[in-house]
Symmetry: D3
Subunit: 146 residues, 6 copies
Amino acid sequence: MTDKTQAERREAGKDVLRSLRGGDIDADATAEAMEANLGPLGSYVIDFGLGDVWTRPGLPRRERSLIVITMLTTLNQLNQLRSHVGGGLNHGLTRIEIEEVFVQLAGYAGFPRAIDGMNTAREAFLEAEGVEELLPSPPAARKSDD
Amino acid sequence: MTDKTQAERREAGKDVLRSLRGGDIDADATAEAMEANLGPLGSYVIDFGLGDVWTRPGLPRRERSLIVITMLTTLNQLNQLRSHVGGGLNHGLTRIEIEEVFVQLAGYAGFPRAIDGMNTAREAFLEAEGVEELLPSPPAARKSDD
Amino acid sequence: MTDKTQAERREAGKDVLRSLRGGDIDADATAEAMEANLGPLGSYVIDFGLGDVWTRPGLPRRERSLIVITMLTTLNQLNQLRSHVGGGLNHGLTRIEIEEVFVQLAGYAGFPRAIDGMNTAREAFLEAEGVEELLPSPPAARKSDD
Amino acid sequence: MTDKTQAERREAGKDVLRSLRGGDIDADATAEAMEANLGPLGSYVIDFGLGDVWTRPGLPRRERSLIVITMLTTLNQLNQLRSHVGGGLNHGLTRIEIEEVFVQLAGYAGFPRAIDGMNTAREAFLEAEGVEELLPSPPAARKSDD
Amino acid sequence: MTDKTQAERREAGKDVLRSLRGGDIDADATAEAMEANLGPLGSYVIDFGLGDVWTRPGLPRRERSLIVITMLTTLNQLNQLRSHVGGGLNHGLTRIEIEEVFVQLAGYAGFPRAIDGMNTAREAFLEAEGVEELLPSPPAARKSDD
Amino acid sequence: MTDKTQAERREAGKDVLRSLRGGDIDADATAEAMEANLGPLGSYVIDFGLGDVWTRPGLPRRERSLIVITMLTTLNQLNQLRSHVGGGLNHGLTRIEIEEVFVQLAGYAGFPRAIDGMNTAREAFLEAEGVEELLPSPPAARKSDD
C-alpha cells in the first residue's frame, strides 16, 4: 500500500469536493477559499476529511453521504447538513432516500432532530431542483376512514 | 383495553393539537399541513407522538408539558420549545412555573442551555400575552446592600 | 426578601438532602462526605444546587423531581438518575408516573435514551421496594388478536 | 394505501426482530420479554419503531442498519449499538463496511465516539464469529519508510 | 477561609463582568440588565457563575477563558461563545491561541462543531479589531507542489 | 513551511505518545497496538490527531491537555478522560488545576458532567500517585458557622 504525499492527499480532497458539489466547480478556488476562511481547519478538512477518509474503499460515496447526513442531523448541525444533502443528491441518493433517513432517525435521536433535518433537506431540494415549491412527499400509509 | 385504529389514533392526535394550540384551531387543516410539510414524519407525529403518547393516562397534560419543555431546552431545540411554551400555558402552567423549569435546569444541563430556554420562553410569553414588553420576573432573593 | 448567609444556604441544602433521601439520614455526614469526595464541587452542589435552587417556591419538590429525572435521562447520566428516581419516590411521585416520563421522552430524545432510563428506574424501584422482582408494568393498550 | 391494524403492525415488528436477530428466534417470546421489561416502551418499540418504520419501502434494511449504527455511535449508546452491529451483519453488511462507518464518523462526531464504536463493534464481531480473537483490520494505507 | 455574603459575591461577579467585557463598562447597569432579562437565572449567573467560580484561585482568568471557549464550542452554544471570545481576548488570549482551540477540538468533538466555533470567533475578532476584513490565518503547513 | 511525509507525521505522533504517557514507554509498540485494535482509526489518531494537531505551535502541550480534558468531560467520554488526566499531569498540570477544570465546567455543561469528571480524575490521581487514598481537596471557602 502506498501512503500519499500531502500533494496527493490535496488532489484526492479536491476530487471529493467535485463529486460533492457536482458540476464544474473550480476545486482549486474552493479549496483556497476554505483555507482562507478557516485557516488550519480548512487544510485538515480537505486533506484529512475529504482526501484521506472520503476516498477510502470499503463504502461507496453514496453510502458515505447517507452516513454523514445521519450524523449531521443527529448533531443538529443544520448548515453543514444542507450542504451535504446536495452532496448526497450528487452522489446518487434520491430525494425519497434522503427523506427516509429522517424518518428512520426519529425513533433513535428524537422527532425534534428529525424534523429539523427534514425541513433543512426540503430547502436543499428546492435549491437543487430550482423550483419554488416541492411536491409533497406521501404521508405514512393511511386508508380512508371507516 | 382496546387498541385504536389509525382513524382513532388520528382523532386522539387532533385532540392534543387542540389542547396544545388552544382556542378554535382547525385541527384537520393543521394535521394536513403537518403532513404536507413533513411527509411521513408528520403522520407519525400526529398518530404516535400526539395520539398514542400524549393522551395516555398516568400523567396529566400539564405535567407532560413540563417534561417536554425540559427536554427541548436540554436538547437546545428552540423552535419547538417556543411552540411548547405556548402549549404549556394552554395546559395550565403559569409563566412563573415555566420560568422555574429553566432555573432548575441550569445546574443539571448548564446555564447556556437554561439561558437560551429562558430567552425563548420570554418571546413566547410576549406572543401569548399580546404585549410588547414583559414585566420582569423577580431576581433571586436579595437583601439590600450592607 | 432576604438573602441567605452561607450557613443558611447550607441548612437549606441539607433539608433537601433529607427530603431526597428520605428516612433519617444524617445530613451533616452526607454533606461532609460529598465535600470530601468532590471538593469544591460538593460545596456548590449542597449550597447552590440544593440550597438555593431546590428550595425555591414556584414549583413543588415533586415537580422538580419530574424535571430532574427528565434531564438526567436526556443527558444519559444514569448514575445520578438512579439516585433521583429514589428521590422522586420520596417526593411523592409514583412508579407509574416516573415510568411515564420515559414513555413521554422517547419521541423527543429518542428510544435509546428512554430505554436506558426505564432500565435504570427499574433497578431503583427494586431497591426502594426491597424486592427481587418487579411486577411488570402494563404494555401499551392492545386488544386481543384478530 | 392501507393502514395497518395493531395486530398487523405487531406482525411487521416481529418480522424485523427476526431479520435483526437472524436464525430461528422465537419472535413472540422476544416481543413478550421486551414488553415485560420495558412496559409501554416495549410495545412502542415493536409496533412503531420496528413495525412501522423499519418495514417502510424507500431504503432496504441493510441501509437502515448503516443509519442506525451511525446514530447509536454518535449518541454513544453502546449497548444498543452492540446489538445493532449484529443486526447489521444479519442484514448483509460486512465487517469491513461496519468498521468503515466508524472511520467516516471520526471527523464528524469526533474520534472518542468513533473509537467507542469501533471497540463495541469488535466485541460484537467476536460474538458473531464465535472466536476469541479477531484478525486485525488493515491500518490506513502506509508505505515503507523512506 | 471566609465565606462571602451575597453582597460580596455580587461585587466579585461584577469584577469578572469588568474583566470579561474590558474597558469601562458600567457593571451595575450590566448586572441589572441581566437580572431584568433573565430573572433568577441572571442573579445566579452573576453571584454563582461569575462571583463564586470565576474568581477562584487555582487557574488564572486567561485559562478559564480557554476552558469556557472550549465548552461553548463543544456544546454548539454560539451566542455565548461569541461573547466569550471577546472575553478571552480581554483576559490575555491572542487570536492565534483562540483559533488553536478550534483546531485542537476538531478531532475530539468533530469538525462541524470546530468550524462553527472558528466562524463565530472570526465574527468576534472583526468586532474586537474594528475592521471589515481579517487577515487570514496561515493554513496548516504545506510545501509548494511537486 | 514544509509539509511532512507520513513517516514524519508518524514520528511526531509517537513523540506526543511519549509526552502523554510519560516515562520510557515503547512508542513503536504502543502505536502498533493502537493500529491492531482500531485499524484505520488507530492510524489516523497517531498521524493526524497526535502527529499533526498536538505538535502544532500556538499552544503548549500543557494547555492542549486543559482543552482536551474539558472536551472529554463535556462529552462524558470517561475512559479517554481518565487517560488524558494522566497525560495532563505529565504535561505539567497540577492536581489542583485539573480539578479546577471540573469546577469551571459545572455551570456551563452541568454538575452531572462535572461530577463524573471529578470522580474519573480522582481515579487517575490515585493511579498516578500510587496511593490508595487521596488527601481531600479543600471545599469551597466557608467560614465557621454563626
